[in-house]
Subunit: 365 residues, 4 copies
């Protein structure tokens, strides 16, 4: 017989008493009522609620991928949860539209009361960055100091601790490095790929050489840029070169993992690779949406305070602009499309391998 549970009241379940008394406006405290301060508070509180949920979702994905063996059933679940993270991120971006209904003049009415509080002190957002695996060296500095000096001692400890844990980047790197299909049997995939790539590179060069709209000077410059692309391509086929790039900070994902990620991208239509492909795509989506959020946020801050300093004592607009570029975590996955080649140039998989990448049911009978 089904259990029954004590009846629940909406307001109690959601702790509305507590939740809806958590807004205290400084302007009223100081006797200078500013109508828009409540908007300001609630927008930021909504952000923090969503951050809590993002952390919850990332933790569950991390728990799955931290293991030495990732259960295949879990990849689908991980994809669903990352997709949820992106749905939340879209909301974070939309929320800027609500904040933008506050004009700069309205903000000035209570801005001075908030100094030096600032969104840079959001501990949860820092934790999200650390959980994703933001490279400490890439963190844009604020006031030339480490990011955690802005928060209370207690929060500092939390942040420093969070840096030590296995991040999603780490876990994905390990998981990718274990993917087996790269060396199955006498699978000469990379040999075929190499010769396809040589053709592609030659093709790219021809595009540049024959472009009638270039000046000579520009063509020269373009060819130089092209050499960089070529170098990157070659690093893909040469582990030492790859490791060099890693030392220079231009690559972060290990050599094997990079190849695995590329393989997954190229043969995504094989059943067993479908979910891994979606998983990698969502990692890039999460990165891209935070980038977009930071960028739009930067535009809004600029519009709100102009060239003034932020309440946190820094030109928030420049900081946010920079983090939009620099705080991407899965850049290496982002860059993968450089190495994609058309399906028509792609080495055909042998039937034997195809069976291995397929479902049990179909091929057994």
């Amino acid at each position: 017989m089904k259990k029954t549970y004590p009846p629940i009241y909406y307001s109690d379940y959601l702790h509305l008493e507590k939740l809806l008394t958590s807004q205290s406006t400084k302007s009223d405290e100081y006797g200078e009522h500013a109508h828009d301060e409540l908007l300001f508070i609630i927008v930021h509180q909504a952000y923090e609620l969503w951050f809590k949920l993002i952390i919850h979702e990332l933790d569950s994905v991390l728990n799955m991928f931290r293991e030495d063996i990732v259960d295949e059933r879990n990849i689908g679940i991980a994809v669903a949860r990352l997709r949820r993270v992106t749905a939340i991120q879209k909301l974070l971006i939309e929320q800027l539209n609500v904040l933008e209904t506050m004009t700069p003049l309205d903000f000035l009415e209570f801005r001075d009361f908030l100094i030096p509080a600032s969104g840079f002190q959001s501990v949860q957002f820092r934790i999200i960055e650390n959980k994703l695996g933001l490279n400490i060296d890439n963190r844009v500095k604020l006031g030339n100091k480490n990011y955690y000096t802005m928060v209370s001692d207690e929060h500092q400890k939390v942040l420093i601790e969070s840096e030590k844990n296995v991040s999603l980047f780490d876990a994905v790197d390990k998981w990718l490095s274990r993917i087996p299909f790269l060396k199955i049997d006498d699978f000469d995939f990379w040999e075929h790929y190499k010769s396809a790539v040589v053709q592609i590179i030659e093709n790219e060069k021809q595009i540049i050489l024959n472009n009638p709209s270039f000046t000579d000077e520009k063509r020269e410059k373009q060819l130089k840029e092209f050499e960089n692309t070529k170098d990157k391509f070659e690093a893909l086929l040469d582990e030492d070169k790859h490791n060099d790039l890693m030392k220079q900070g231009l690559r972060r994902l290990s050599y094997t993992s990079t190849l695995a990620a590329l393989f997954i991208n190229l043969y995504r239509d094989e059943p067993i690779l479908h979910l891994p492909f979606r998983f990698l795509s969502y990692l890039v989506n999460v990165d891209e949406l935070f980038t977009t959020w930071r960028y739009k946020h930067a535009l809004m801050v600029h519009r709100m305070i102009g060239a003034k300093v932020g309440t946190g004592g820094s030109s928030g607009h420049h900081y946010l602009m920079k983090t939009a570029e620099e705080h991407k975590v899965f850049k290496d996955l982002f860059d993968l499309s450089t190495y994609l080649i058309p399906r028509s140039s792609l080495p055909e998989l042998s039937d034997e391998i195809k069976i291995k990448l397929g479902f049990n049911y179909t091929y057994k009978t």
Copy 2:
């Protein structure tokens, strides 16, 4: 010299300690962890935060329009605040996309723990409906009982109290009824309008009679419908007819206010009418966005629980569907477009009146 204020810490300012400990999952309490319950809680808490802000904005608009004289400067502010309400409403609609990342199967894992709690118990949302001026008689019933029997005694008192206050509908009705331009000088606007309308009506009839795609039966039916439209048009020019419609519950806005609203819509380009026009438009927008939200919400509930009963013990899907139609507050404004006539048929205002509707600066010099 500018005052300085004690320094503020982000986390204290936003009461994050309190806010971020307001989520307690029943599934964990009962030892049956359901991953998605946190999503469910946070989505609803975010809704309640935004409801609080909507109430804040509506209150400020109400305060302005409750007065016997509405300061012209305040109409611009009221418009800005209603626009903010619509920005929030768009977010409420977007939030459904996050909730939809929970599949029906995931919801079933904790649904039984929540009975009989339900979104119908959101006191703040009821207050919003009352503040806007939802007609008590139009409220869709739940379980054949009055809506406030679903909430605690304490909350019932709050709701009953909120019904008694002047609503935005009431305040707007009064404000419109005071607008002076309808009887300026020997302004024969309504005479001109009447004859223009007679033409329009005749025109509509011709469209129906000459439509080649109608069967006779259909044409008959269409002509009957047309008679209704004609009746409505005529009610606009005949106060008694209008009052009849009010008694039947087909109209709610007073006769004078309806004419004023129409006049504002027709001559919106005159400087003094510009902001009143935008104000009326935003009232309709607010209505329309709640309608959209309810409708999308209904679709989602249907998809989530199918034909099962809701946790609140009712087929939530049907209830929401109905409220989407029935809980509109500013239907009369919505219907105004029935009575619009093309600018080319519009009586030209005399120079004298135009000056009265213009700015001081321009015409004085």
Copy 3:
């Protein structure tokens, strides 16, 4: 060596000469320039361009599912293409926001020139409905006549032809009916499911009986509604009852296909069922987004013309409202959540079956 192709010019490639001379405004032709007519034309042309693309995507999915064997690789591709359709649909909905920037008064300036043209004459949209598999009997009538009497003779032929082709609904029904896992070995899934369902039904009943917020009258009514749900549940376990419902037009999907769809929904985390689950979900999404589009469209039409007749000679607003409800194609999939039971009540699959639903690679070694 890679082929090279003749150089292409952007404007030629896109036929911009042709495309950008396809807007001719009636208001200018008649010497009564109406600024907003160009908006009106371009919005509708953009709709038609997107319709063409939706047809292209649906056709490719249909081609895959029309076959007697659906290649597993293709399910992923089909999902991607339906996802694209939903991305386009979101755009169609957004486009209404652009159309709404035209006010009713602005529309009146050229409305009379367009009679009796109307969006109901969009042949491509009708084709989309037919390709999805809109049941002819469910089509909402316009002017009591068949929908294709509104279009030219030539277009009528196209539409009548398109009704005869295999629709996506038909193809999906066949594909589902072939799914093998329902009868694997001595798999007693449905027996287990039945007893779980009996419990669920009992549980639902208790929820109703114990709800303190019900009046007796309401409880009675609710129990009656519950009996319907019970009937539906029982139809799921009894092919004859299901076929009865089909005859009454309350079900359209065959008995076996319904079970298969339910099984896929319940065991979606098994690798081989993951993509079929997403495929079914996207079918529901496509339906739901057209429903939302129609509904928002109806609201907009109402706001634009009020109670007047539409240019097509009908009260477009009511028609669109009705189609939002009635023109859903995959209602049966939508209703599936009625029959979902919590994972905890779900019969555990045997290891043997799990292996069959898994990938080759994992279990072979």
Copy 4:
């Protein structure tokens, strides 16, 4: 009696025959069918349709503001049309989501056929930039050549011609410079403003000096940045300094116009300034939305082709990133918030001036 017009057929009115035969896929022409090429074509065609509409709206606004006297009724209309432009721009941004459903691998299947065609060759988009008033000197160069060398001779002529016309920037600059309220009577506004500003500047300095989270080095740097802000503030109160900044290319709006724009921003709640304020805000919105579109477009291009060269022979991603920053037209308006001061510090307007800024009707009686 109302005129009637010849009946119209939907498909003829929209030239669907022409419109829907304007898609010819190169991949099919070359016998290498690529499913996604139709998506690619239609997305770009939709862009071009919307560009046409944007040009239509900008032209109408330009026509109003090019005049020596701008009719007040027209400002409301101009605002509505700019708002429409922003609604379209939001759609342009959304459209990227549809384009993103094409994966890099799918694009590679037809990319080579398109060389050297490229979105950089969109003549209409260049015309939009020129109509808005993009400073020729700020144009980011492509291949070190002038932007119009990328298009056909015929199109070059069109673009060069469009550079010569009065742009929206020019027209707005002139219109602002004529606004009279800055010198009304013995209005000593700027004196009051100056002393308020001196306080603000001092305040900003204190914020920097007292921020406990700064290292000495950082404080130094921040103070230097602050000096820039101070310079800008001072330029606002000193025409010569402003003209210096103009010569350096740091300002583009004339001194008087800058003051007028600031005044409008500060006293937006005065009736006569309300619409001018909204007008200026929408100019900034239009800029900001193109910036966002370019930025998101850049992210997408990066993701699509990685470090490869674009079909137009350039690293499109970098170009778009740069234009996002550099192609803003109304930067000076964007920067205005730097000079805003809280309403509480704002000089109170005299009753006499208030009357001048108000409506005729209210104050006459």
